[in-house]
């Protein structure tokens, strides 16, 4: 290879490509318009030259012979795998015509816009939806069970999102003088080295381990991290809530919380009336006529009388209030009744009281002694990171579980502190991913927003983010109630192989719809069932930008592959066709507007020149202790962006949504405890969703360098269990429960609990027959056939992907 011919382009990652949510700096080596090699950028503070196998396999991914390279239109029956190559203009014309027909006949809400996991997709697909006029932007995983539950809980508890602080806001990283190495890191349900989740580089924690951070790992599997942990809690999948309550129990009973912090920054003093069926925060409007329902009440021990917390002033209605912390009082209401009220702290303390470590051992199977030790270790470490993963989202009780865990960092003061859980905001306030209705670039009318599927059933969806509810949407395809769903735009999503629980139902829905478009990079099982398939670009083939969480950075088009286009271009072209007032012609123009609106102080080209920028110290998007400095609230006062301005241990949002405002634990609906009879028939707990460094969800199965790392759709099973079932390592076995069954290759490993089996998700076999009904082997290997939809918490969030029952048995003959 002659070196002179090679150009090296500095860029950064997002999808499509490695798939993950990482922000790696990349050096793309280009020759003759082709990427011949990708390397990590040693100058980028995020990854410092390091990159994962998926990034390193980019050349095999980009130039894979199966890569979709031009638009194609179905010419056979759906799923028959007969296609005709068409031009982009023909494709755009066809889409415009068909989607306008749907709009004319049924209204724009009858068209839904489906994405997979959020990466460089979500923002642009919602832009298309809103330009077209539909409120139905959907993420297809049942119960929106991917980060949304945790994000919602963080938002309702302290008004902002938190992530572990691995010094990612600092150019000099761990060497920044403001940073502190955490004394301990609690890894709650994530095998971090296998994947870079949600704006976090997996191996930062390895950096911190080298610098002395001790680990606690909570995982049903003995991961590498678990084997390196000071304490490993091998809990029963789905019982995280009970464990979190036990942590709280230990921390409260042993007075390991930071009492001054709790008294200063949380709503622990606020009174809750307990006279009704449900406890309710006592509000100024309860005490006196004309009192605000937004103001809360404490018991002032100085005056031995109630005092009012003025939420908009972030102050009491008088001086020298000494609010009671852990007590109860009878309070006289404006209607003359006297009601029993308890402080939030007492309510909270009473709530966690039953969850002793011994009780939690019963529920979680982890030893009480270890649970207590882990809770103590977390509370005593200064600072301490608590890092949590998807298992908190993909259970039915996601919201109360996330809330209990969130409270841990609130009770110990590990919030927005160096080496704790810092508040993560859009860098330089540049929002590249719309988290709330119409945020970012476009808006819909309130009438149209009211048609957003599922908001009528789950009020939380109205107030947090802009998702339609996937389970109700799918059901509505069949029921057409309250209105029909007739078309689906599917963008880099693969519900038949990955996000869709009960995939047969998703297939039936796709077969019933009038029109489906699939934007993707390979012919997936889902794309196979579409009417039109559009070829999407990798991150090396498009211009984009990213600000989640840091740095704010540019993704630069390095090469073109075939006729592939970026999601953004495709979505923008269609948005322009559907909305004559759509303001931009080219993505770069839109990027400039986004940067300008955020007051980022640079154009897109300037961002490209820098490649990445970190928010400067003092900016609201840079840590630390912003709640002390008045950087979190619009009014500039210290405190949090919550209704009360406090960290809400008892949540006013949850109260508003008629959900339990305090954390609680509930058994998974199918479990040894909930369904003991079923457990006799299905004596193993099936858990899914394990990550592999070799694949991102359903991607990468066709990339040889990656597939060889993880060649089979496996089922992890303990040697003892395998022995009892006469199953050997490498044997193909059946997994079955009352919902369905699939085949997996047994991976016999002591890393898994004997009563638990782990089936990684997202499996399809690109090397097998693609046409329907084969669909690349999904009916053989898709574990979602055992997991039903429509099992959420009262919030509408959560699903059963992490904990359900099953049996495993040998195949008879072939």
């Amino acid at each position: 290879m002659s070196e002179e011919d090679v150009t090296i382009v500095k860029t950064t990652t997002w999808s499509a490509g490695p798939g993950c949510h990482g922000n790696c700096g990349v050096l793309a080596h280009v020759r003759d318009g082709k990427v011949i090699k990708v390397e990590g950028d040693p100058e980028h503070p995020w990854n410092q030259g390091r990159v994962c196998p998926r990034l390193l396999a980019m050349p095999q991914y980009m130039y894979h012979p199966d890569r979709l390279q031009f638009p194609q239109k179905r010419v056979g029956k759906r799923g028959e795998n007969k296609w005709e190559r068409i031009s982009w203009d023909e494709a755009y014309d066809l889409i415009e015509k068909r989607m306008n027909e749907i709009k004319a006949e049924h209204g724009p809400e009858s068209m839904v816009f489906l994405q997979g996991t959020g990466r460089d997709i979500g923002g642009w697909i919602s832009m298309l939806a809103y330009a077209y006029g539909s409120p139905n932007w959907v993420f297809g995983l049942s119960g929106i069970s991917c980060y949304t539950p945790r994000l919602m809980v963080m938002w309702l508890t302290q008004g902002d999102f938190c992530v572990g602080d691995a010094a990612q806001w600092h150019t000099k990283r761990y060497d920044d003088p403001d940073y502190k190495i955490p004394e301990s890191i609690t890894m709650w349900g994530q095998n971090l080295p296998a994947s870079c989740p949600d704006g976090f580089f997996s191996h930062w924690y390895v950096d911190l381990m080298k610098k002395g951070s001790e680990l606690v790992v909570i995982d049903p599997r003995c991961t590498w991290l678990a084997s390196r942990a000071k304490i490993w809690l091998q809990i029963r999948p789905g019982t995280d809530g009970a464990l979190a309550l036990a942590y709280l129990n230990v921390i409260i009973n042993e007075k390991l919380y930071d009492e001054g912090y709790v008294q200063k920054w949380t709503n622990a003093h606020h009174l809750v009336r307990v006279d009704g069926v449900k406890p309710l925060l006592l509000r100024e409007s309860d005490l006196r006529a004309g009192g605000s329902a937004s103001n809360f009440v404490v018991w002032d021990q100085t005056a031995d009388a109630p005092a009012v917390w003025l939420s908009d002033q972030q102050a009491y209605d008088r001086e020298n209030v000494a609010p009671a912390f852990d007590d109860e009082y009878d309070v006289l209401l404006t209607d003359g009744t006297r009601v029993n009220c308890k402080t939030v702290w007492r309510m909270f303390r009473e709530r966690v009281a039953p969850y002793t470590p011994e009780k939690a051992e019963e529920i979680t199977w982890a030893p009480a002694r270890d649970i207590a030790a882990a809770a103590r270790m977390y509370a005593k470490s200064k600072p301490a990171i608590l890092h949590w993963g998807l298992p908190i989202d993909t259970i039915q009780t996601t919201v109360p579980t996330a809330q209990a865990i969130n409270h841990l960092w609130c009770l110990t003061g590990n919030l927005d502190n160096p080496g704790g859980n810092v508040i993560a905001r859009y860098p330089n306030s540049v929002v590249t991913y719309p988290y709330n209705s119409g945020g970012g670039v476009m808006s819909l009318s309130p009438e149209m927003h009211a048609k957003r599927i599922g908001t009528w059933k789950y009020p939380a969806l109205r107030d947090f983010r802009a998702w339609a509810h996937p389970d109700i949407m799918l059901e509505q395809v069949f029921s057409e109630d309250p209105y029909p769903v007739k078309g689906m735009w599917i963008q880099t999503a693969n519900p038949l192989a990955c996000t869709g629980l009960d995939p047969a139902k998703w297939l039936a829905a796709m077969e019933k719809l009038d029109f489906t478009v699939c934007v993707d990079l390979f012919m997936t099982p889902t794309a196979m069932m579409a009417d039109l398939v559009l070829p999407a670009a990798t991150f090396l083939e498009k211009d984009s930008l990213k600000g989640w969480w840091v740095p704010l950075q540019a993704i630069k088009k390095v090469v073109t592959v075939g006729e592939c286009k970026s999601d953004i271009e495709i979505n923008m072209e269609m948005a322009r066709r559907f909305n004559p007032e759509f303001p931009w012609k080219k993505p770069q123009e839109m990027f400039d507007t986004i940067l300008k609106n955020a007051d980022a102080g640079m154009t897109y080209q300037e961002l490209c020149d820098k490649t990445w920028v970190l928010p400067e110290k003092g900016h609201p998007s840079a840590p630390y202790f912003r709640y002390e400095k008045g950087l979190l609230r619009e009014d500039g006062k210290p405190g949090f962006k919550t209704p009360s301005g406090k960290i809400e241990l008892f949540s006013s949002w949850l109260e508003k949504w008629e959900l339990d405002p305090l954390p609680f634990y509930e058994e998974p609906p199918y479990s040894p405890v909930s369904t003991p009879d079923l457990y006799k028939e299905y004596p193993l707990i099936l858990t899914t969703g394990r990550r592999s460094v070799a694949s991102y969800h359903s991607e990468h199965r066709q990339v040889p360098w990656l597939r060889e790392i993880d060649p089979d759709a496996i089922l992890e099973i303990h040697p003892q269990t395998a022995r009892e079932l006469d199953i050997c390592h490498g044997e193909t076995v059946w997994i079955e429960n009352q919902f369905g069954k699939c085949k997996r290759v047994a991976a016999v490993t002591p890393a898994i609990h004997p009563k638990v089996v782990m089936a990684p998700h997202g499996w399809w076999m690109p090397e097998q027959e693609g046409s329907s009904p084969h669909l690349f082997g999904i009916w053989d290997v898709n574990i979602n056939q055992l997991i039903p939809m429509d099992h959420h918490g009262a919030s509408g969030l959560g699903c059963l992907a992490k904990s359900i029952l099953c049996k495993v048995y040998k195949m008879e003959g072939k």
Partner: protein, 112 residues
């Protein structure tokens, strides 16, 4: 001339396979055939019953310690891409003097 080597602080190898794929990309090696480095997994019970997982990146016959890259002044592909930063390239004798506190490390050396 002092021989060069790769020092592996294997205590922190997470088994991520980045070294393997970096090598395959660098030399265009076929999937299935061995590359210059292979991460071996050892899962075993420690005295006391705790399960331990340790990954050992081992270098194979086809590894040249990235002689073609080193000639250009670059570090070996596996070294720059190691996600856990456990690989260090340099003169073997210098590397041998690097001490990781209270843990073992392993130094791979090239011959001649």
């Amino acid at each position: 001339m002092s021989e060069n080597g790769i020092l592996v602080d294997y205590t922190y190898c997470t088994g991520c396979s980045a070294c393997e794929v970096a090598c395959k990309q660098e030399y265009g090696r076929k999937a299935g055939a061995v590359g210059g480095v292979k991460v071996m997994e050892l899962m075993h019970e420690l005295p006391g019953g705790k399960l331990d997982i340790t990954y050992y990146p081992v270098f194979t016959k086809v590894c040249s310690l990235c002689a073609p890259r080193v000639k250009k002044g670059l570090k070996p592909a596996c070294v720059i891409h190691c996600m856990a930063n456990v690989l260090t390239y340099g003169p073997a004798e210098e590397l041998a003097s690097i001490s990781f506190k209270k843990r073992k490390s392993v130094l791979w050396k090239g011959g001649e």
